[in-house]
Symmetry: C2
Subunit: 339 residues, 2 copies
């Protein structure tokens, strides 16, 4: 039975807490969130009415800091921030308690891209602590990076990798709809995008992980990223209210990188009202391989699942700041009751 602490109780963290409660092989032992509006609340107060399968942790109350969790934990789910430098103090506290970490922090997917020096330090600290730290998720973490590397294992040469993800954001959580700028004007979008306050995080990290899996090192800053708004052509509803024609429905986010032997192109659309959602992974070389997931992989449930499925993996992994290229396939080995 793995003892699990959940740090960060936004929708993803709460989803993880529920998934931990639903799995007979996992035990929820701590809930952490810095938000004063959440501190002191119990699990059922956060999650609402539980599924029949969800048990355990009823006596827990949210504490404001990792230090205040009294129970021992084996692994922590960390869903607090997208930035490695902001999550690093949390990682250090967890390492200090001997706790391994699975995180949805997008920069942790390939921590050497945005923060190579800090990543090296954290890696050394994890090795000293004898614990593994892993960034994962569905995007970044799988559908525009690790899946392409997996597919490349069955070809001998790749000169171009192209991943396209067209996601329908109307089924996604409210913070995601805010993050992609739904309901903004194009001008508001531009200002917030320039300030780095909206958009999808982690596309450059996806490129760096993908290229590394194909044997190429992506230097910090070398990925070309574009971010444009998708504008509504007709009125549509979102979790944030009505989107009028001309207002923003979401993002079109691309990334390109190449060296003398490999080119990587990622093309992500995440918007309310996206027609024909799909994921495509394409490898070009002497052999051409094209993989499609019509409808696209689900976002929020998949991110939660990726984190929960990797708890066992990170618990058994060698110590260090690891990536999806370092660990075996997780698989869905949960001990949820039969549906």
């Amino acid at each position: 039975m793995l003892r699990v602490m959940v740090v960060g109780l936004g929708p993803i963290g709460v989803g993880c807490a529920r998934a931990v409660r639903a799995d007979a092989g996992l035990k929820l032992v701590g809930l952490v969130d810095a938000d004063p509006g959440k501190v002191g609340r119990g699990i059922l107060d956060l999650t609402g009415p539980p599924d029949a399968a969800e048990t355990g942790g009823e006596g827990l109350a949210v504490v404001s800091d990792i230090d205040q969790v009294t129970a021992d934990a084996d692994v922590a789910v960390v869903a607090t921030t997208s930035w490695l430098d902001r999550v690093a103090p949390q990682l250090r506290k967890l390492l200090g308690r001997g706790v391994a970490v699975v995180s949805s922090c997008e920069q942790m997917l390939w921590p050497w891209y945005a923060h190579p020096v800090l990543a090296k330090d954290v890696d050394a600290e994890a090795k000293r602590a004898g614990r593994a730290l892993l960034g994962t998720g569905v995007n970044p973490g799988y559908v525009m990076d690790a899946l392409a590397v997996s597919l490349s294992s069955i070809v001998r040469r790749v000169k171009l990798v192209r991943c396209v993800r067209r996601g329908e954001a109307s089924v996604r959580r409210r913070p995601l709809q805010a993050k992609i700028g739904a309901t903004l004007s194009a001008d508001e979008f531009g200002a917030l995008a320039r300030a780095g306050k909206i958009g999808h995080m982690g596309i450059a990290e996806s490129v760096a992980l993908l290229a590394a899996g194909l044997g190429c090192q992506v230097p910090p800053g070398s990925v070309t990223v574009t971010l444009e708004p998708v504008l509504a052509e007709q009125p549509m509803q979102s979790a944030l209210g009505l989107i009028e024609p001309g207002q923003v429905t979401g993002i079109h986010n691309t990334a390109q990188w190449q060296n003398e032997r490999l080119r990587v192109e990622l093309d992500l659309t995440m918007a309310v009202g996206t027609p024909d959602p799909i994921d495509v992974v394409e490898l070009e070389g002497p052999v051409h391989v094209r993989l499609k997931i019509p409808g696209g992989l689900p976002g929020d449930s998949a991110t939660v699942a990726a984190m929960i499925n990797h708890l066992r993996v990170v618990h058994e992994a060698r110590p260090g700041l690891l990536t999806m290229l370092d660990v075996p396939i997780a698989g869905c080995r949960g001990q949820d009751p039969a549906p």
Copy 2:
């Protein structure tokens, strides 16, 4: 630079030898085949005219046994047989020389299914020798097993996994066309199938690996396998000659297994003249995910690539008789020159 020995010089082994020669990170140091018609022959005599990228090993001649390879090797590619009990003496000789192994032996994909006692012994021997042994390939090894486990990492519950592979055998190697019974009568097919002399090897191993990746143990003998011929409706050419209407074009091979919480269904057609070749992986549960590879993954080149891409992986892996569930994603990290 990894030093590589190739054991078994049928089309897959020869393809591997060529791929080793084309990769600047790999060095071909030994060629082994028991066939007296191959012993003593040089690499170019086996492969025919090389690509520009293929260099190294020109001085090597095929020897009849692993013991006769004089050079030290780090890793061996073993493409000799489909049966674990037949490959085991070769694995033991290689372990005795301190050589790790990647093999296309289909039973090695999940060696505990057909030979649980032998697998346990070989695993212990590999651990004592400090080397890893791994069975891999495209099928079994990826498209009807490991890929489905990978995809399952982003869901929390799976009650049904269905993999469909419809392959066009006319583009495959001659021994594969023979193995699927092309040009036989239905009666000849039936007799050879009952004798276990034709058909696809490894479908039960795919089921066992897939289920293990989803947390379920498949007991030896518990997979239900069917094998039927696909019959020609019109005359068609094959590598083995003309196929008349009513004669066999290939196989339809299925496997099913279930327990109280998971059902696995694999459905493989491999025949000359298959319309609409495709690979499909489908997960059913609270979330439904369907992945398609239109055209299907290539067979022979993908098997060679899977083996070559795993040389580095198996060299770095922990000792033991490992499976695709134990190792990180290989990725196509070869040092082939840019195409």
